[in-house]
Symmetry: C2
Amino acid sequence: MSHEMDHCQQRLKTMGYKLTKQRKIIIDILLSSRKHLMTAGQIYEEVRKNNLPLNFSTVYRNLETLLECGLIKKVALQDGTASYEYNRHDHHHHLICLHCKDAEMIDYCPYNEINRHIEEHTNFFPVEHRFEIYGYCEKCREIIKRD
Amino acid sequence: MSHEMDHCQQRLKTMGYKLTKQRKIIIDILLSSRKHLMTAGQIYEEVRKNNLPLNFSTVYRNLETLLECGLIKKVALQDGTASYEYNRHDHHHHLICLHCKDAEMIDYCPYNEINRHIEEHTNFFPVEHRFEIYGYCEKCREIIKRD
DNA sequence: ATTTGTGCAAAGAGTTTGCAACCAT
DNA sequence: ATGGTTGCAAACTCTTTGCACAAAT
């Protein structure tokens, strides 16, 4: 069992949950996918493609459980779809391609600017923030140029 | 007819659409609502509460039309729900309350920082960006403190 | 008059839930 | 053994669509 999987098992146990075959499959998919962010549908597609023993409703239930355990993160994209990524505890934001829908990470975060501005100008108590840039990735810029 | 409604009629006409009674209702609701952002459901609730002649499917169809005309803006929130606001052409972002779900505007925008960072560090071509802060508004901070 | 728009009902996509059987510890 | 977990099917929410009729210019 990989180091990451060990970590997941431990964390699940602490929260009173078990590391089942089905949860392993989901974690494995998120860890190994070429895509940085995946929707529940994309995860299930991967399951079907490889004939893995995992029901769609179990995917949804376990994404919720893993989220509760802090093992994954959920990002709601502009088009309304929810995507998930394995939580590597490195705070980052995303550049999201409008063409291929894939995402890449950026380290830049406007948080400090935000926080200072809000404290100075509002009575709002910030808890979390969300920051995404939509556009075209290197690969898709080429494709679109050709068309 | 108000100045804003005149503007909408003109814009709709340019795009080959008509200013119908139903579209007026939707625009009026968005212009006059206490809420800064409204979901399709909240708009329809307002319609029903006032017994206005407007079907739910017409709400959806017209939000799409008004969006296409650039008369309203659409924001997909973190919880996956789509919200709409009248487009006043003042670029801004939102502070969104996790308790009452209402939003207030902030003028602060990290765009220039973003853009410079992306140009320097990536091959991504940015088109638009999204930036929201979730937390508790002044009113709800008080309510939560009391509980 | 013509073209766009509406109401209604039905279909679709994505997600959630109840329940009996199953499995990880 | 037993409490959490799964598969299945059905329900649910939000959104979209086809069609005949209605309305705006």
